[in-house]
Subunit: 127 residues, 2 copies
DNA sequence: GCTTAACTTTCCACCAATCGGAAGGTTGGA
DNA sequence: TCCAACCTTCCGATTGGTGGAAAGTTAAGC
C-alpha cells in the first residue's frame, strides 16, 4: 500500500504520514523500486495507533513512548497508565487555566454594552 | 527608559519586548545615540496593554486590533466586544474539546489497573 | 505507443510566539 | 582603567505540521 492509501486508511493527511516517517515515528515497511514508501499491515496499525493517540493530544514524544510500549509484549500496564495520567494532568491544568480566563473575560464582555460609544470596560481593564 | 526597565515594568521578558518591537506591535518611542531602544510613558502603556491582552490568550493579531481600538478615541465599544466575544468563543470551543478528552482519558485510566502485567485498556483502545 | 492526469519523491520555506546563544558595542561604578 | 552588566543584531531551535516547486512514476484511455 502506498502513502495515500495508508493516509486514507488512518485518516491523516499524506504530508503528516510522510512527516511521521521523516522523524522516525512510524516508518514504512519498505520502498518500491521507484522509491515510493510502502506500508504493510504492521506499519498501518502503528500509524493508526499514533493517529488515535494524537487525537488524545499526546505529544509526539509521548506517542513514541506509547508506541514502544504497544510493541513491547513485556510491558507493564503501570508504565502506560503513568503516561496517560501525565496527559490527564496536563489536560486538567489547561482546563483550570481556561476556566479562569473564561470567567474573567465573560464578566468583562457582559459588562460591555457594545454600542456605538467608545466607553468600554474591556479596554479599561486592559489599560 | 531602556528595554530592561520597560520589560520589568510590564513583567515581560526582554526578548519578548524586543520581539514586539520587531514585528511592529509596540515600537519604542525612539533610540538612544548608541541605538538602545527607549520607552516612554505612552510606549510603556501600550506594552502593558498588550501584556494583559496576551494573558487573556488574545493572539498577536487580536492584540493589534485591540491596540488600535485602544488608541482610537472614536472607537465603538461594539468593536471591542466583538473581538473579546470571538476570543470567548475560542475558549469555549477549547473547553468543550478538553472536557471530551478528559472524560474519555479519565475513563481509560480508571479502567487500567496499572500493575506489572501487560494487559492495558488504554493500549487496547488506541490499537 | 503516446498522452495525460494523478500520483510520488526530495527539499526548502513558512506558521505562532517566543527562547537561547553568539559576537560585538555601551554604560556606569569602583 | 577595568569589569560587570547592560545593549545590539543575527541565526537557530522549538511543536507539529502545511504549502509549494521541481522532477520522476504509474496507470488509464485512445
Amino acid at each position: 500500500m502506498n502513502i495515500s492509501g495508508a493516509a486514507k486508511a488512518v485518516e491523516l493527511p499524506v504530508k503528516t504520514v510522510r512527516y511521521y516517517a521523516d522523524i522516525g515515528l512510524v516508518s514504512p515497511a519498505g520502498r518500491s523500486d521507484a522509491g515510493y514508501r510502502e506500508y504493510d499491515d504492521k506499519a498501518l496499525r502503528k500509524l493508526g495507533f499514533v493517529a488515535r493517540a494524537r487525537r488524545f493530544g499526546f505529544s509526539i514524544a509521548q506517542c513514541r513512548e506509547l508506541l514502544s510500549l504497544y510493541e513491547d509484549a513485556e510491558r507493564s500496564s503501570a508504565e502506560v497508565r503513568k503516561i496517560a495520567s501525565e496527559r490527564l494532568t496536563e489536560i486538567e491544568a489547561k482546563q483550570r487555566e481556561l476556566a479562569e480566563l473564561h470567567d474573567a473575560l465573560a464578566h468583562l464582555v457582559s459588562e460591555c454594552c457594545g454600542d456605538g460609544r467608545p466607553d468600554c470596560p474591556i479596554i479599561d481593564y486592559l489599560s
